[in-house]
Symmetry: D2
């Protein structure tokens, strides 16, 4: 069977995860992985049953490898733009983790560049591939709830990231809620047109120190006329990822996945284990399926399920939320786009 | 056993319900019920096992009855203010359905008047007495989730009221969401300080005709710093009444009550009956408990669990939401109260 | 409205419960209640809002009251037979708590006597009126699971009764599992033809002292060919009452009712309150509905929903289970009936 | 990293599954797979990302390969005994699918032989490795329910196997319920001492044709004094695999796994997808973990988690159930073992 050969740039937690997931995809083959600190990668590759993977300290080794058709960009966000441009230059298809960049104009340019080059570009919004999320979207699309009227997303992390991460994360909206903004567009099949955000620092003052927040609620208005609310927290003690879509004919909702269905009934009450801890546990299957779809798009020539434009739209909403929080008023997305064009 | 003797003014659906519930309260006795259209009440009283209840066409017969210690005001909202004033004048304790009035200043005056008279006044926020709601509030108060950070309320009616009702309802915020505003204060044990509302007409244009909406989301900011979101719809096909309080140590949430726990598993999927249809089914027990607490407050001299001030605060939030929707901006409640004082 | 006038013989927990429930039934009126120890009944009647109820130390006062059409027999089981005979003699309709008697032959005679007198006789199998049980039976009867193949009943008490009760209870099968035997016939709409019982004393040796057991499993075979299993325990710390009917097209099952739907999610896991504690909490509504149906049968002339024959059949299964446990073999019910006839 | 090299004998559905699962186990390597009909295996190995696996038409090629330390026996049951003997002769560790054989005496001999050879032998009871089952057992072992008193197992297949399979399956108890018998010992941590089985043909007469049944209930008595009930069906339209362990301090139970947690609420009721269809979906993870533990036992020298003796005990219970059904009486396992010794 013809295999798609890939390279991975950035061997952090997510880069390694993608490499390991590739073991289970017969149609894909990881040829090389690069990282600024490659030393530990040899033992990892061996222990992970990936002895054949070439390890390198420079992403150039990957871009220069003519056999490699596609690259996964898993390095820090501030390196994305340059890597994407070089990779496109080298004729590689691209899978890029979110966000594409911290700068809306630069992300917009990537959208254009990808179109011009005619190469595949998939943005790493893994939640679309979650068995629960995708089932809800499928049923919404099938009209099972009629016209969508209301969207409710709860998205809470188990615990705050380290301060070093907070400092360079771009803030809660761009780092964390961006997934919810993509989910909102995915579920409602309509663009967001207006955003109003409330934020607070209730968990740890360190967020205030970096002009960030740890708790938020976001109101959304969609082009369809539908409304939505999102609530976020940086500290839920487990990964709380729920969505509900309410429409003219009914309501679709999901619960969190749990490690098991065991329930203990005693005189003191009923107990069960808490939901899965974080994204590595909750989205295990989703990460495999997003890669699978990327590889199939390359092998089969179909469109990627999540485009660069999808990445841009989610960033646009995130920047609007940031502005709304600063100016304490609802922000029409059009206002930002107009400003963007004027900058050019 | 000494019984508290009551009179009911207004024999609509809710007035009759209170009368029937009284049958199960040994410590209470309904002596009389009045309505502008009393004719059908005799047969109803007989069929309901309340043959002893005196039926009248005028509320004065109730206020003039020296034996009656307390009255339940269940007539249309626009009659409340005058009835309350006359009842207080007659020295009766009062249980009044929400809202106390459509006019914030008049409601404020009632709060003062009640204080001056030293009589009991309970506002009919029945949800505080729901077995699910009260259990959540109890656990929040007990500190089981630490400091409350986020509140999520979903409150959706099964179907829109008739147009005649819509025309005089005061609008979604004052007629329907007012329950959610009271619930918000009850759950978070903190006053709401800012409101931002989004509204839409997605179900029936008749709402637009009366300058009303049928779908809404409301963002709340509490004095404690916590945030909240409410979503409302006039047409959910069943009564959707859920609340979630998320805090520093955990999260408390409830599901809708269902008529039974039966589940049917077949090749086509798993099916169960939908939640209870509307407030008469869902809040059956809550209506009994709110009356019980009112009667006990009178008999025992304790405070009523829901005061006139609670009624005022909920109305204040509702008016702020209405203003926010009109002006498309967040409204600080203080802004309204200042305006109120200036009017005086 | 014409009311059915009733008398209650035996003012224990259940007799009082029926009297209090009658307050909520406009079509019924409790005229008198009798008990061997009537002294405390006056204050109870007053406190329960039943001041009009006549209290007596002798059941004869009830049977001699020509105004009373029907009696509820709530006295100890060993008094049932004589009371039933006298009540039938006095021309009263009868509602009798289970079991009708400890002696199968005497119960059989009551079945005949009732038929001869043409009076109503309802056996107190309250579970048939539970909102969950009745919904399952309704759906089974409607063919939603096709042909019933398997029945699973779990029936566990929160804690063992006092030794004095155990000594005169007739044993686990006749005192406790008898409800499950009636439920089995009700759910499967087919008679039980064979029983195999396993028993053990795992909770408290006091059961062995009285030649009783505290834990059991019972295998049933139905005339339809279907199979069933029941498990019982005297100590589950709450009332565990679940049933499942599995058929050719699907499976119907219920969960226990809970005091509320609140769930607490924390780092330690997910917690909710345990199911309702015992029959008074779980079957509140069922007790009201069984009385309602009895009263309606008298007022309207319809058949009672649970007959004396139903009481007999459940006792027959219970005696078979007892024999099976003693002889460690499956018992065909026919074997018992043949023996019964030979005794006569 | 040192890898354990394995060979697979029998490339049916389960043999292939094990091979594919091995891809995800860095510590294991499949060197060869044999089947009587090897032709299609080349394309399967290629498509499955196992191009390196040697394909053969004879199991001897595997037993003769000195590099192979362990074999997985996935061929039809009637070939197990000879294959096990030859594999032990060749010094291979063995993983064998259940049942070890249809003949209790032969299985007993294997238990002895394995002991004598000092090689690892794991019986393929995959359910012990299910995330739900293992969590329940873990909590039972931890004493969370005190002393186990009652066991309830429901085990139902989605649909009957083809007649050809039925004819050579050994019957419901040995083919299907054997998993439940192992689960019973695993959960209760006590040996089964007595069995009583009820059986019926309610789904398809073809079972009667082969002197088999399609529906059953089984009563168990444990050495600890605890009791248990199992119910089985060949046609539940989905895979129904639930277990409940009830003890002195509480009750542990599990629900079936579902493909997602999405719930659709409409005016018609609440709908969700049915549980996972069959063992390949439900026990995906369990199959990986059972292999992992086998490989680790070989690499690390620890004991296998499921021994040949465990296989023997489950078969013993199955044969007792078969005898109970035939003779319509409870069977003490000792009775069978005595008979077994006399045969020798």
């Amino acid at each position: 069977m013809k295999q798609v050969k890939l390279g991975i740039i950035g061997a952090g937690r997510i880069g390694k995860l993608h490499a390991e997931n590739m073991r289970g995809l017969p149609q894909a083959q990881v040829r090389a992985i690069s990282d600024l600190y490659p030393d530990s990668l040899h033992s990892w590759a061996d222990a992970s049953g990936l002895p054949g993977v070439r390890v390198s300290g420079s992403y150039r080794d990957i871009l220069d490898d003519a056999e490699i058709e596609a690259v996964l960009i898993c390095s820090p966000t501030d390196t994305h733009i340059d890597l994407i441009k070089e990779a496109l230059q080298a004729g590689k298809h691209i899978f890029c983790e979110k966000p594409i960049s911290f700068n809306l104009r630069e992300t917009a340019q990537i959208v254009e560049l990808v179109k011009a080059k005619g190469l595949k570009f998939q943005t790493g919004f893994n939640r679309r591939f979650d068995h629960n999320m995708s089932r809800v979207q499928e049923l919404v699309r099938a009209g099972r709830i009629g016209e969508p009227h209301l969207l409710r997303i709860t998205s809470r992390d188990p615990e705050p990231p380290p301060e070093s991460y907070i400092a360079s994360s771009g803030g809660l909206f761009i780092d964390m809620a961006i997934h919810d903004f993509d989910l909102a567009r995915f579920m409602m099949n309509s663009e967001v047109v207006e955003v109003y955000a409330q934020g607070a620092v209730l968990i740890d003052p360190v967020f205030a120190k970096h002009d960030d927040i740890d708790t938020a609620t976001i109101s959304l208005r969609f082009a369809s006329g539908a409304l939505g609310v999102i609530d976020n927290s940086r500290k839920a003690h487990y990964y709380d990822q729920r969505v509900e879509v309410f429409g003219s004919e009914g309501c679709l909702s999901i619960q969190n996945d749990t490690p098991n269905t065991a329930e203990l009934h005693t005189a003191a009450g009923v107990y069960r284990d808490k939901p899965l801890y974080f994204f590595l546990e909750r989205y295990t299957g989703a990460y495999v399926r997003e890669l699978e779809s990327f590889v199939q798009a390359i092998a089969g020539g179909a469109d990627v399920p999540v485009s660069a434009y999808d990445g841009y739209q989610a960033e646009l909403i995130a920047h609007a939320a940031k502005l709304s929080l600063r100016e304490r008023r609802p922000i029409a997305l059009q206002e930002l786009e107009v400003a963007l064009q004027q900058q050019q």
